[in-house]
């Protein structure tokens, strides 16, 4: 049962809410219970063709040759698609924000970098005929050594997973192999601390396992556009991604969606849309590309695994005086959204606590695993797991109740956070108080009376002296506005035949402004503009 604790922050609200706090029936519920909600695969299209892809059986291999001759002649096959048929066969999802370099092909050309990477697509009259044709494709692979461990991947001499990033790590601010966070002087705090605690935490990759697998249906419309019925979670993000890969203006694409059979972050990568649209362009017919269950579980991108080292300094009275985090985010073979998750992670450290000395190095690492993607709080979830485990251990170490220990170290309004934003609208203390009450967990009266609105700011609002940074602490530059630059278009784009692709994948586009400013992700992705009280 939902419960509103209106006694908290009561003076900050008007009590004139018309909807909040009152049950309202969801407008999509009747469709759900009558089985009439229309998911992407419930659209009926005449002359529908089916697309299936051949996937790499190797974690890492050079492609010496591909023979699709027999598949092209197989019964029911309308078209075989290879990397050279994809107009811009190199993309990175966040290029729409000028963040990162194009590093992932739609269909592999020279190398495969993870097991399950798409190599060739077949469009046929039935799924069965498409599968039978795939079985006749011969790919000559030269297997290469693979790397699966984030720390191994960063060692000198490790196999290079993705040539776009030869050090196996994403490049931040155009030059760093990791995202840094520096606040105060952790080394001094460690030297002066009563206790230290260092632990290692390892997360697993997690599959979203939506009941509806990833997929879409693309079809030529009568007005020269292509309609795409899709389960994409970010409909317009996917539209622009497809427009870039297929090298068509985005007004040539008409995306229909918003009804997703479970996503949880696993449907933001445009895994199927570019090939389905290309199939429709090349055949002039509606094309359906849906992942099977095994493909979804094995090759649909998971939540990336993270390895996190946390070292804390704590005083006998329970104050945490330093937190040092080194974290490795396993991006898999390509960037997708992991570069952004790393920035979120760095901005979140040291968690919802005010700690005067914080130091973090967070790496986005390439390995020969399936590329990772978004999943419910990615970038923050894993580091929070590590931090909260660490909080329990620290409380135990100094002999303080874990609930009181959290309240003692909680951030409060007006405190300076490690990434140099003032803490506003904080409510951790109140959350812990209510959690303790619900769990019938006794906490002392003085902790029951503490408030997020008292005791913050003042000396806690200052940026401490931070070795290696300008005095007073550097402020982040104002967020940059950027646009995605399109290449010049031919006057008339053919309708069913895409332009003849150039034989080699186009080189990654260079962002026009200097990389040092355009790649400043910390400012770009900052989402801390909410003000409740100021």
């Amino acid at each position: 049962m939902l419960e509103f604790r209106k006694e908290y922050f009561a003076d900050e609200r008007d009590e004139n809410l018309n909807e909040i706090g009152k049950p309202t029936q969801r407008q999509d519920m009747v469709g759900h219970v009558t089985g009439t909600t229309t998911y992407f695969d419930d659209h009926k299209l005449a002359g529908l063709l089916h697309l299936k892809v051949l996937r790499s059986p190797h974690h890492h291999a050079r492609i010496r040759g591909i023979d699709t001759g027999a598949a092209e002649r197989a019964p029911g096959v309308r078209r075989v698609i290879r990397g050279a048929d994809v107009p811009r066969n190199l993309n990175t999802l966040l290029s729409l924000l000028n963040f990162g370099k194009d590093d992932e092909p739609t269909l592999a050309v020279d190398k495969v970098r993870y097991k399950g990477e798409p190599v060739v697509a077949v469009v046929a009259h039935s799924e069965r005929e498409a599968f039978e044709a795939l079985a006749q494709i011969r790919v000559d692979y030269e297997p290469l050594p693979a790397v699966f461990d984030v720390e191994e991947a960063l060692k000198a001499g490790a196999p290079v997973v993705n040539e776009t990033y030869p050090k196996n790590s994403f490049e931040y601010h155009g030059r760093y192999d990791h995202q840094k966070l520096r606040f105060g002087d952790v080394e001094r705090a460690f030297a002066e601390a009563d206790h230290g605690l260092e632990e290692r935490y390892q997360m697993s990759p997690i599959e979203h396992a939506p009941t509806e697998t990833n997929g879409c249906v693309a079809a030529p419309e009568t007005n020269g556009r292509y309609v795409v019925y899709t389960c994409a979670q970010g409909l317009f993000f996917s539209l622009d991604t497809c427009a870039k890969i297929l090298d068509v203006p985005s007004n040539k694409l008409h995306f229909v969606g918003g009804t997703v059979g479970g996503g949880f972050g696993g449907k933001v990568d445009s895994l199927t849309e570019p090939l389905a649209i290309l199939g429709a362009m090349l055949t002039g017919r509606p094309v359906r590309y849906v992942l099977g269950r095994e493909e979804e579980m094995q090759f649909g991108s998971p939540r990336g695994a993270e390895r996190i080292y946390v070292k804390d300094a704590v005083m006998r009275d329970g104050r945490i005086t330093a937190r040092k985090v080194t974290s490795y985010f396993d991006s898999g073979a390509y960037t997708r959204l992991s570069s952004y998750a790393v920035i979120k992670c760095a901005a979140h450290i040291p968690g919802p606590y005010t700690i005067p000395n914080v130091h973090a190095d967070v790496y986005c690492v390439y390995t020969n695993r399936v590329p990772a993607t978004a999943m419910r709080g990615f970038g923050v979830t894993a580091v929070d797991f590590a931090i909260e485990c660490q909080m329990d251990k620290l409380a135990h170490l100094v002999g303080i109740d874990p609930m009181e220990f959290r309240i003692l170290n909680a951030y409060r309004d007006g405190d300076m956070k490690a990434h140099r934003r003032e803490a506003k609208n904080t409510a951790l203390i109140e959350c812990v108080q209510v959690a303790a009450e619900k769990a019938k967990w006794p906490i002392r009266e003085e902790f029951r009376r503490m408030s997020s609105r008292a005791g913050g700011g003042g000396a806690r609002a200052a940026v401490p002296h931070t070795p290696g940074t300008p005095a007073g602490g550097a402020r982040p530059p104002a967020p940059q506005r950027t646009t995605y630059d399109r290449p010049p278009q031919p006057a008339q784009a053919p309708i069913f035949e895409p332009q003849k692709p150039s034989p080699s994948p186009p080189s990654p586009r260079q962002p026009t402004p200097a990389p040092a400013t355009t790649q400043h992700g910390a400012a770009r992705f900052s989402s801390v503009f909410g003000t409740r009280r100021r």
């Binding site: 009558t34 089985g35 229309t38 419930d42 059979g261």
Partner: protein, 161 residues
């Protein structure tokens, strides 16, 4: 590919469809009959989103041969309501927030209907058993179990004949 005719009752109406040899019932219903209430989630009998009733018994249509239902009666979630009136299970699912994305719902409803048709006053354990083959990734099973129990306690008087 040669086609085989199959005739069966679909939600109380006689239908006939042509299927490929070896085609499954899910494809016959979705593509042949045009009823998209049963969903495809795995095609291998592990998720339950394709659950339909054959002569009142729950079956996974993705691993049932279409030809096997010739002359039999098939029910899907599309046939649950009576004209504009929702079935008690449908009302209970709405009231108890027993669906989020809704993709598992048609299968859940049919598994629950098979139970309530035979056992109008099931225990909680019997409800859990009945939907044990249906995976839901969003809602959590508690609201679904509560909805089925609520539909049952609404009593046989509210059940459709």
């Amino acid at each position: 590919m040669s086609k085989t005719p199959v005739q069966f009752r679909h939600n109380g109406v006689d239908v006939a469809v042509f299927v490929d040899g070896g085609a499954n019932l899910l494809t016959a219903i979705r593509e042949g009959v045009g009823d998209t209430a049963p969903k495809f989630g795995c095609g291998q009998g592990t998720c339950g989103v394709c659950t339909v009733l054959i002569d009142g018994e729950p079956h996974l249509s993705c691993i049932t041969l279409a030809e096997a239902v010739a002359g039999r009666s098939v029910e899907t979630a599309d046939g649950l309501k009576n004209g504009p009136d929702l079935h008690p299970l449908q009302r209970a699912f709405m009231e108890h927030f027993a669906a989020q994305c809704g993709f598992c719902t048609p299968g859940m409803l049919m598994a629950a209907k098979a139970l309530l048709d035979k056992n109008p006053a099931p225990s909680r354990a019997e409800v859990v058993e009945a939907i044990g083959g249906n995976i839901c990734r969003c809602t959590g099973y508690e609201p679904i179990i509560n909805a089925v129990l609520a539909a049952a306690s609404a009593g046989p008087g509210r059940q459709r004949a």
